[in-house]
């Protein structure tokens, strides 16, 4: 049998997993792999990012739109440590990625060799699994196992660290299929005992309320959610990461949950008699103070991860398993119903929210000054809510989540659990490469944009027709808002003196414009959407706008502030 290097074996193993795209950045300890990649460049496309953080976020964006496992490469030491934020982000947002890092030769491990970092230790608590390979013959099995673990059950990141000698080592290679049944125990029938209990509760409930989380998108259970609600006529709300799993224009949709969620969606949690939570984990940003969260309600919790059950909120009926399968069974079991009076309550709250917040957010108070909500609202109208929005972290993220009316599934990508500034630009690059036929628009604040601005180099080099909108308020807006509301307006180190973004973007050969009034905004948005190439739009927005409604940290879901 022919002998090949460990590095070539890695690429063959990646091909076995149907890997087509890798985001990465080379360096000494991963050079044999990059050398092998040279021979595989017809089968695997490698995107040279400008920072390893860019590589992992791009892999995440790619994974989130395609549902496939994202792959990224980095060298040892600083290359590997630069991946850490993205790995943690992928862990919290259940994104399957396989990170391959180079490592110093095995005889140097433990000696503080040049660019040696114990990346296995560092990533143990933020990966589903990690493993260090020191022998080439381990590669096929370990890579197959890595992909299996990343994808199976609740998805997440896996890191495989390969020493340089293992990459060089010549070994016999034979393509094999590996089976990992039972490696991750999913109790597929565990929920069956509880199904009739759940159906009973749903049929009897007077004020049932369905909460849709990211798990619905991951399980591709959007159709089932629609069928279930069309039959039961139960009002539906979404978490931040659940956005776009249910069409925002559906008559049963009542809005987003959480700190900056919709008024009715939040306060009526405390009136519902039954909460059906699907693929969501009762995150503290959603529940607020647990002591005053939905105490009156019975709770059905559908989740594939048993460790989420009773973690934050004690549920009445746990249904552990795949959301799609469970919903299919529920659809058959539940009775046709309607909850018009209950739904009316949400609509009354909508009226209050409109008067208190939305009207003000959308009205053009001034000839020139642009509000963030105006931008997103206009974008939503012009695209009919059909684009993929990739947002960064901060006020613009919340405004985008509130005002973009998603009508297509799997169209909202943001860093929810970790709240990683700098996520959007690289994630949008990955998303666009994964969904070339769709319009992908990154919405970023001026702060977050400068955290991974270097990834514009990828847009340029790879000619990626990505649309980028920076909402520039010259502040770290969300932090400034907290300083104003909760720290006596002591504006400490949040004002930003920004560079001339247009000049920078033009340096990358990307078409760029800056909107400073309503007409320019309208015209440039049209240009951006019509463009077949990448397009950058900076919008100068009001400096000290605040995002409302808001449930202050630590308060209950009923303690909504409008100002």
């Amino acid at each position: 049998m022919e002998k090949i290097t460990g590095a070539a074996m890695l690429l063959k193993s990646l091909l076995c997993q149907k890997t087509e795209l890798i985001f990465g950045y080379p360096g000494g300890a991963i050079m044999p792999i990059y050398d092998a990649l040279f021979s595989y460049n017809k089968k695997i496309r490698h995107i040279l990012t400008r920072h390893e953080q860019g590589a992992i976020h791009s892999a995440q964006g790619y994974s989130r739109v395609t549902g496939k496992t994202g792959v990224c490469f980095a060298t040892s030491g600083p290359g590997a440590t630069n991946l850490i934020t993205g790995i943690c982000d992928a862990m919290l947002d259940s994104t399957p990625v396989v990170c391959i890092t180079g490592q110093v030769p095995s005889n140097l491990l433990g000696t503080d060799a040049f660019q040696e970092a114990n990346i296995i230790s560092m990533t143990t608590s933020i990966t589903k699994w990690n493993y260090q390979i020191t022998k080439a013959n381990e590669i096929p099995f370990v890579i197959a196992k890595a992909f299996y673990i990343a994808m199976t059950g609740r998805p997440g990141p896996v890191l495989i660290d390969i020493t340089k000698d293992a990459q060089f080592e010549l070994t016999e290679y034979e393509e094999k299929l590996f089976s990992f049944e039972n490696l991750i125990k999913i109790n597929n029938s565990g929920y069956l005992n509880n199904i009739s209990l759940a159906i009973n509760l749903i049929n009897k409930a007077k004020k049932p309320y369905l909460l849709v989380g990211h798990g619905v998108t991951i399980a591709k259970a959007e159709d089932e959610i629609l069928k279930f609600t069309n039959k039961t006529r139960i009002p539906v709300a979404s978490t931040l990461l659940g956005l776009s799993a249910f069409p925002c224009n559906h008559p049963l949709y009542v809005g987003m949950l959480g700190m900056h969620g919709n008024y009715g969606a939040n306060i009526l949690t405390n009136e519902a008699d039954l909460i059906i939570a699907v693929g969501m984990r009762f995150d503290d940003r959603v529940t607020g103070n647990l002591k005053s969260y939905a105490k009156q309600a019975k709770i059905i919790h559908i989740d594939i991860d048993p460790s989420e059950i009773n973690k934050n909120v004690i549920c009445t009926v746990p249904l552990v398993g795949d959301a799609k399968e469970i919903l299919q069974i529920l659809i058959n079991g539940v009775e046709k119903n309607n909850h018009d009076n209950w739904l009316k309550k949400f609509r009354e709250c909508d009226d209050i929210e409109y008067q208190e917040v939305i009207k003000k957010d959308l009205e053009k108070s001034d000839e020139k000054e642009i509000k963030m909500a105006e931008v997103i609202n206009l974008l939503s109208e012009k695209t009919n809510g059909k684009s993929i929005l990739v947002t960064d972290v901060g006020q613009h993220q919340m405004i985008a989540a509130r005002y973009y009316k998603f009508t297509n599934n799997n169209s909202h990508i943001t860093s929810g659990g970790l709240g990683t500034m700098g996520f959007a630009l690289p994630a949008a690059i990955g998303a666009k490469l994964g969904a070339e036929e769709r319009e992908v628009i990154a919405i970023i604040g001026d702060g977050g944009f400068q955290m991974n601005i270097q990834e514009l180099g990828v847009v340029m080099q790879e000619n990626i027709p990505l649309k980028i909108i920076v909402l520039n308020n010259s502040f770290l807006g969300m932090v400034r808002q907290w300083q104003e509301l909760f720290f006596e307006n002591r504006i400490s180190s949040t004002e930003m003196h920004n560079p001339n973004f247009i000049k920078i973007i033009e340096g990358y050969g990307i078409r760029a414009n800056k909107a400073e009034n309503h007409t320019e905004l309208n015209d440039y948005l049209d240009e951006l959407l019509a463009s077949k190439e990448s397009y950058f739009l900076e919008v100068k927005v009001i400096k000290n706008e605040n995002v409302f409604p808001m449930i202050p940290a630590g308060a209950g879901v009923s303690d909504v502030r409008f100002s």
Partner: protein, 95 residues
């Protein structure tokens, strides 16, 4: 209310298994009262007895988080009063 529990774990005896277990305890801010470890004859499996004091809710959470460790094949948690040291061998693997 805090009680003392004994957690018995069987896992693959990999290089990182100690760390994988310990991060779960440290992130939940749980001190370990007692820790026993035995490797099976051919070093393939490891058996841990870990004694902690905590409340039932945290205990349940920690056990669920430990169950996510890929190398872990069995876990049992019992109230210390119900832990019978004679049972120890029941869990030990014979390879």
């Amino acid at each position: 209310m805090n009680s003392t529990y004994v957690i018995s774990i069987i896992a693959e005896n990999t290089l990182d298994i100690f760390q994988r277990l310990s991060v779960v305890f440290s992130r939940n801010r749980l001190f370990i009262n007692q820790f026993n470890f035995e490797a099976s004859k051919q070093n393939l499996n490891s058996h841990f007895y870990i004694e902690i004091s905590t409340d039932e809710i945290k205990m349940e959470r920690v056990v669920k988080q430990l169950k996510k460790i890929i190398e872990l094949s069995d876990i049992k948690a019992v109230h210390k009063n119900h832990f019978n040291t004679n049972n120890k061998d029941v869990y030990l693997c014979q390879n």
